[in-house]
Symmetry: C2
Subunit: 340 residues, 2 copies
């Protein structure tokens, strides 16, 4: 039978209160007593019962993690990696993460996650776009909330993003360092804030390198941002005159599709046209040439969100603001010096 706090107290020769003080890292315990109790905890392999602990402390020690169903199921495991980062970080903070999905056509009456109804979480992390109705409901419950890769329109929120502008800017810096002067931008799904920021970063990168922004070099009318969208948009690059020597695609999928089209048309990549992507998805290593891209530390996004939510729970405060996670250029084989 698993040990209880009473067994630990008896074997250590102290009260159960003292064992509780040690368990919870309180300072009003002498070092000698603390060590003695910890040794017994280890010896008895004692793990406090979550139920009893939460019951007594009036907390759950759970974090809710909410995202839309399509985000969870999508082929590129962006959000699953964010969740992984959150769950790993939760292990270090002794919280459990309860993952649930909501539909895009969310209605409070029928789709509210049970852990909200039952007050079975101490805080909530929401990854990617979530319905405003859900945001408002969580706010109305005075539960701490952190958003990842999304920021609701109204109110003050805690949001965690990758630094899209800086990443795009780095891509342009890299291409300029390779003497590229005529750099195109390939984008899609421009309603998405990340895509807008990456276009802004492209513009910033040009300006900082003394290059004139030229809208004829920007192709952004794809509805989506998949491999096929990149493939379908790439012909626009070949129609540009004079032809650009490099292209920055708003994500790796579009970069890969673009690369496929160009290769099929007999364009030498990177000899005639260099390509940079964004995200560093797995497939960038499986294409030829391997893709130069901006690496996003997806798991770290999730970990930061967890740290923030834990802080908000423990400090009983609404820590608001935006965290930008730095991203990093990874140079592979899809970029080379511009030919004159």
């Amino acid at each position: 039978m698993a040990a209880t706090i009473k067994d630990v107290a008896k074997k250590a020769g102290v009260s159960v209160s003292t064992v509780s003080l040690v368990l919870n890292g309180k300072s009003n315990v002498s070092p000698e007593t603390r060590t003695k109790v910890q040794d017994v905890i280890t010896a008895l392999e004692f793990y406090p019962r979550r139920n009893a602990r939460g019951f007594a402390a009036r907390k759950t020690f759970n974090i809710g993690f909410i995202l839309t169903e399509d985000h969870f199921s999508r082929a590129e495991p962006f959000y699953t990696k964010i969740f992984l980062g959150t769950e790993f970080e939760a292990r270090r903070h002794s919280f459990y993460v309860l993952l649930t999905t909501v539909p895009k056509n969310f209605r409070s009456g029928t789709h509210l996650p049970r852990f909200l109804l039952e007050k079975n979480v101490d805080g909530v992390i929401m990854a990617g776009w979530v319905p405003q109705m859900l945001v408002e409901h969580v706010q109305g419950m005075s539960i701490p909330a952190v958003f990842v890769d999304f920021c609701p329109g109204r109110g003050r929120h805690t949001c965690v993003f990758m630094d899209n502008e800086s990443g795009a800017s780095q891509a342009i810096d890299h291409l300029v360092s390779l003497r590229h002067q005529r750099i195109a931008f390939l984008g899609g799904d421009m309603g998405h804030p990340s895509m807008i920021e990456r276009l802004n970063g492209y513009k910033l990168g040009l300006a900082e390198n003394g290059l004139q922004y030229d809208s004829s070099l920007v192709v952004v009318d794809s509805d989506g941002s998949s491999v096929d969208d990149g493939y379908g948009a790439a012909h626009r690059l070949l129609a540009m005159s004079p032809r650009p020597t490099a292209v920055f695609a708003c994500n790796d999928a579009m970069a890969i599709g673009c690369m496929r089209y160009l290769t099929e048309q007999g364009v030498d990549v990177p000899g005639e046209l260099s390509i940079v992507g964004f995200d560093d998805i797995e497939q960038v290593l499986m294409v030829e040439p391997t893709l130069t891209t901006i690496q996003v530390f997806k798991e770290e996004l999730g970990a930061i969100a967890l740290r923030r939510i834990v802080e908000m729970i423990q400090e009983k405060s609404q820590v608001t603001g935006t965290v930008l996670l730095p991203v990093e250029l990874v140079v592979r084989n899809s970029t080379c010096k511009a030919h004159v």
Copy 2:
């Protein structure tokens, strides 16, 4: 402030024991009392505290869901869909699902999921291959366990699989109904039990349709089963003499890769060679021609597993055996009548 069971009892004019009996669906409550209490529960929007409930009942009302990290992150969301099915079903049974991953190089000392250490689950579902050490540890704890798409080698277990053999057999039936007599098999990653079963189903389907099994029509030496593996293996089909008029690929990814290669070589698909895949992944609708395949109800796999684990928890019994989930042929445009 959220209502407690005492508020419900007071407003309904009964004892808290009676409210508890109603909450837990016990039969020793009169219909009139039951209705009265349920009306009050609705009116007060009462949700029992999970902590208190589990504490009193000595249960957690949680199910653990374990899979390896690489399975969770992989691009084709097979396991994420199984998890979705499990989580949806859990909602109906009032359980929470705690998702966690383990590394392939699992060691009990450092990688044991916390919810096992803390006894914070009433049962465990394991999806896909998991280390034998983990299986043994869970068994040693006398916690009910269900496996999905995997069966540990030793002991009696409860396992849930899609019916691979029957699916493969259906694919052959379909091709035979289109008058194909010479049907190849394209496989990879043959160490995986599902792949072996699909090859068995191919053989069964041939036999049942009076066709002779011919090993020269079977290409199974790819290490993996990706799009690229299918692409790389497809040239073998063109080297066969006489050429087959159809090919059954062990999964959609290989089927898509094969289709790409054949199209590039000027083979008319399905006019000269029909293709059937397996799994019905999203991408089968994005290729041209759209792929005929075997549909797997991935969410239903997860839901069955949840129902089984709940049954085992509630009956306090080890329900062992294997559940085979039927799969279904979906005819699209990659198959047509064999040309003579």
